[in-house]
């Protein structure tokens, strides 16, 4: 028996968006088999995830709150991926933004009024995130070091830095020895939509960023350069596009957006630095999935970020109500990504099994 893979002859009937939606649906279908194995009714689970979550203010507001960092991270990744720069370090860039925000609010200028303090936190958070992305960018641009490896490794370094800070020098003296810093002063906290965890300024920034990234990619010469470089490094050189500029700008932009997401988590949700897993919950990684589902369209990132945060909030809920093990959300994310890759492949190629004569 031979298994043959061949290119499909005509252009496939399915648009990229169809494939995105189909892969989410397929992932949910496969996940229901897993639920079965845990003797949980999939209909009940999906009812809880989608209907219950979205039918009360608590659920909706948490969905929106989680959409904010997810959207910010995915937007930056869209910029990088468009240029063929494989940044998977949004997680670390977000954490470094969070570190900067906490540092500013607790140690650098805790006495300042809000109107100075908050902009400083955002600025330094963005700078810190950008800096964390600049390291792999320069290594790639100047020494051709593979960015996938460096960005991934810097995620772990960022986690270790956060852990060091919350266990060490920044640990709150009044925190019963828990790995937490002091809470940040009131004037360092973002205004919320009353009764919800939705921090308004960051929500605004994230939506505005979608529009801006869309504009940059579509209309500017920068966007053109990213696209050309993303298609071919060789043609880009011929087209007089600067390789260093493309790599550095896409990474820095991406890092800054992730850094801002980190600031939002500190100043809008946690009000203190804590262990990395509590701060981020993998927004930097989930952002990769959102970017692919959106087909690198920054506007499509909005609905897909919302969708994945519904799944995230919903699966937190069913962990408790249906006694499913922790990490259900990871199953969803993983399945969606796998389905997306498989369907993308099947849309372009046909697999044939030929019996041996």
């Amino acid at each position: 028996m031979i298994i043959k893979i061949e290119k499909r002859s005509e252009y496939n009937r399915y648009s990229a968006l169809d494939i995105s939606i189909l892969s989410v649906l397929l992932a949910l279908a496969v996940a229901s088999i897993i639920m079965w194995a845990f003797r949980v009714s999939p209909t009940r689970a999906y009812y809880e995830i989608f209907v219950k979550t979205l039918s009360n203010k608590y659920g909706i507001s948490h969905v929106v709150a989680r959409t904010i960092p997810l959207l910010l991270c995915s937007l930056g990744l869209v910029v990088c991926f468009k240029a063929g720069v494989w940044n998977i370090g949004a997680e670390g860039q977000l954490l470094m933004g969070a570190v900067a925000a906490t540092g500013v609010a607790l140690y650098l200028m805790p006495q300042s009024p809000s109107w100075i303090l908050l902009p400083t936190m955002f600025t330094l958070g963005a700078v810190m995130g950008a800096f964390w992305a600049l390291i792999p960018a320069l290594l790639k641009a100047k020494a051709r070091v593979n960015e996938i490896i460096t960005t991934l490794m810097l995620n772990y370094v960022a986690e270790k830095i956060v852990e060091y800070l919350v266990y060490g020098p920044w640990k709150s003296p009044s925190g019963w020895g828990f790995p937490l810093t002091d809470t940040i002063p009131d004037q360092a906290r973002l205004p919320l939509i009353p009764g919800t965890p939705v921090h308004i300024p960051t929500l605004g920034i994230s939506l505005l960023s979608s529009a801006l990234v869309f504009l940059v990619l579509r209309k500017t010469s920068m966007g053109f350069e990213l696209k050309v470089y993303g298609f071919s490094e060789k043609v880009a050189e011929y087209a007089t596009v600067s390789r260093t500029k493309v790599i550095v700008i896409s990474m820095v932009l991406s890092g800054a957006l992730a850094g801002i997401a980190g600031v939002g988590e500190i100043a809008g949700i946690h009000y203190r630095l804590r262990l990395p897993r509590s701060i981020s919950g993998g927004y930097g990684y989930t952002g990769i999935i959102v970017a692919w589902l959106s087909r690198l369209n920054p506007l499509a990132c909005i609905p897909f970020s919302l969708l994945l945060s519904v799944l995230s909030v919903g699966s937190d809920a069913i962990q408790i109500t249906l006694k499913l093990p922790r990490g259900v959300i990871n199953i969803f994310n993983g399945l969606i990504l796998v389905m997306l890759l498989v369907l993308d492949f099947l849309a372009k190629y046909r697999i044939k099994v030929i019996k041996h004569e």
């Binding site: 209309k219 010469s221 053109f224 060789k234 043609v235 050189e237």
Partner: protein
């Protein structure tokens, strides 16, 4: 159905959104014949053959293979029917070796065993003069060797019907001769071969019958023995264009480019250009003629700022530009049509409009934004002035025919108002009249005062439009002629490396 027909295509119609690429075309291919397909750029040659190869489906029409009515569903189906196609632009993977490529094509070799592959190809090596170095990587091969690998691939897969889409457009004359020897042998063994080319001489030499397409329709099928260049050209376009003449006589101006004892390395690290010195003046076409692979690519890339010279100096408009990047050179007025421009000078996935500004997008930028209306106006004028067949400004460039894609590159570079144009084989893949028009355009920009550095393999082209001609061989210049003193015999001897 007669047994001797390998392929019979009847009434084939294929429309793309607004283009009729093929309209009621009949085509037949006999066992043991070489059948040439002729036609202008965009006439529908590639489309017709992609239909036969199962890459695209016709809207109407029937196909008979070996006398049996067949719907060719896909390329792999075509291969099972014994049909194989070598595309206009190679689709080999640069980083693989020849052996690896052949192993991938064969169903007998499951694991990469050099001995097995050697056994497999030994017959073809001997019988069909298809010898290639199995251990070489694809990127190390010349165009002629790549063509051989493609043909070997097809034979190993058991093809009896071979479609070769413009196989000779980047081959040296010697390689063409080599290829023709292979094709003759294959024909005599009963293979059926379709041969697409714009070079009438080649077509008349190699083929048994010739089918001419014009604007998607079949005009005629005639035996090669009854054809001559004039009739063929008339059938293709209606008339033979009169050759462009270099009549501009006003003396050339100052030097726009000076190259002083330049040394440049190739990708493999060997010296490709050895101590070349020359200059190009304003209002002059300076021709560098030579067989492909004698350092032309490296010299052109060094001048365009895409390759760092090892030694020597390049002055552009009086300024030393050795370390300058491509942007700075383009900004100062250097236009560049590279060799194999379909690979390095266009992006097939971008639109025609986007490709029309590829090297000059920064000229269309204001405060960081690309001015869409300016771009559209520009792209439209290119399409009009250079007769580019495209369904619109915003279709992907990959929907253009091979020759029209090349025209787009030429149009963009020639219209950029260059001080110096560096062009490597700009007429490769163009039909006769488009080649002629391109030469006229070169003369036009020369008359406007631009300098042109033209790399070509075609002696006639060089004699027709160049003011001075240098012969390049193994990275050195072997002689410099003004047009008046240029002599075909002398030049061809120098091109072949004979020292005079």
């Amino acid at each position: 159905m007669e047994e001797s027909y390998a392929v019979l295509m009847k009434n084939i119609t294929k429309k793309f959104s607004s283009t009729v690429a093929n309209y009621r075309v009949d085509f037949d291919l006999r066992k043991g014949e070489i059948h040439a397909l002729l036609g202008e750029n965009g006439a529908g040659k590639t489309t017709l053959m992609r239909i036969l190869y199962g890459e695209i489906q016709p809207d109407e029409g029937e196909i008979f293979v070996w006398g049996k009515k067949t719907v060719v569903k896909s390329p792999s189906h075509a291969l099972r029917l014994g049909i194989s196609m070598v595309h206009q632009h190679f689709r080999l993977v640069d980083s693989l070796t020849v052996a690896e490529h052949l192993a991938l094509c064969s169903s007998e070799v499951r694991f990469l065993s050099k001995r097995k592959i050697e056994n497999l190809v030994a017959e073809y090596f001997k019988e069909y003069y298809l010898k290639v170095d199995l251990d070489a990587h694809i990127w190390q091969l010349s165009a002629g060797e790549k063509q051989k690998v493609e043909i070997l691939k097809a034979l190993i897969r058991g093809a009896r019907i071979l479609v070769l889409d413009e196989p000779t457009s980047s081959l040296t004359p010697l390689e063409v001769k080599d290829l023709f020897r292979v094709l003759h042998k294959l024909r005599n063994r009963g293979y059926a071969i379709v041969f697409i080319s714009h070079k009438l001489g080649e077509v008349l030499e190699i083929s048994d019958r010739i089918t001419i397409l014009r604007k998607g329709k079949k005009v005629a099928t005639i035996p090669a023995s009854e054809a001559d260049p004039v009739t063929l050209a008339k059938l293709m376009v209606g008339d033979l264009p009169s050759p462009a003449k270099n009549t501009h006589t006003s003396p050339p101006g100052g030097e726009v480019l000076q190259v002083k004892s330049l040394y440049v390395k190739n990708d493999r690290g060997g010296i490709a250009v050895r101590g070349v010195s020359f200059s190009v003046r304003k209002g002059e076409i300076f021709g560098v003629i030579g067989v492909a692979g004698n350092g032309q690519r490296e010299l052109a890339e060094a001048i365009a700022g895409l390759r760092k010279p090892v030694k020597g100096e390049i002055f552009f408009r009086g300024i030393l530009v050795n370390g300058s990047g491509p942007r700075e050179l383009a900004r100062r007025g250097l236009a560049y049509i590279p060799e194999e421009s379909f690979k390095t000078a266009v992006l097939p996935e971008l639109t025609v409009a986007e490709n029309s500004i590829l090297r000059y997008y920064w000229r269309f930028t204001e405060k960081g934004f690309i001015k869409k209306t300016l771009v559209e106006k520009w792209a439209k004028s290119l399409i009009k002035e250079f007769d580019i067949l495209a369904e619109g400004l915003h279709v992907k460039a990959k929907s253009l025919s091979g020759g029209n894609l090349q025209k787009l590159v030429i149009a963009r570079e020639l219209s950029s108002k260059p001080e110096l144009l560096v062009a490597v084989n700009p007429t490769a893949g163009l039909d006769i009249s488009a080649s002629q028009r391109t030469r006229e355009k070169l003369l036009e920009i020369k008359a406007q005062g631009s300098g042109v550095l033209l790399f070509t393999e075609d002696i006639d082209e060089a004699l027709q439009i160049c003011d001075r001609i240098a012969v390049i061989f193994k990275g050195s210049f072997k002689g410099l002629f003004s047009r008046e003193e240029a002599d075909v015999n002398k030049i061809s001897l120098l091109m072949a490396g004979v020292d005079l």
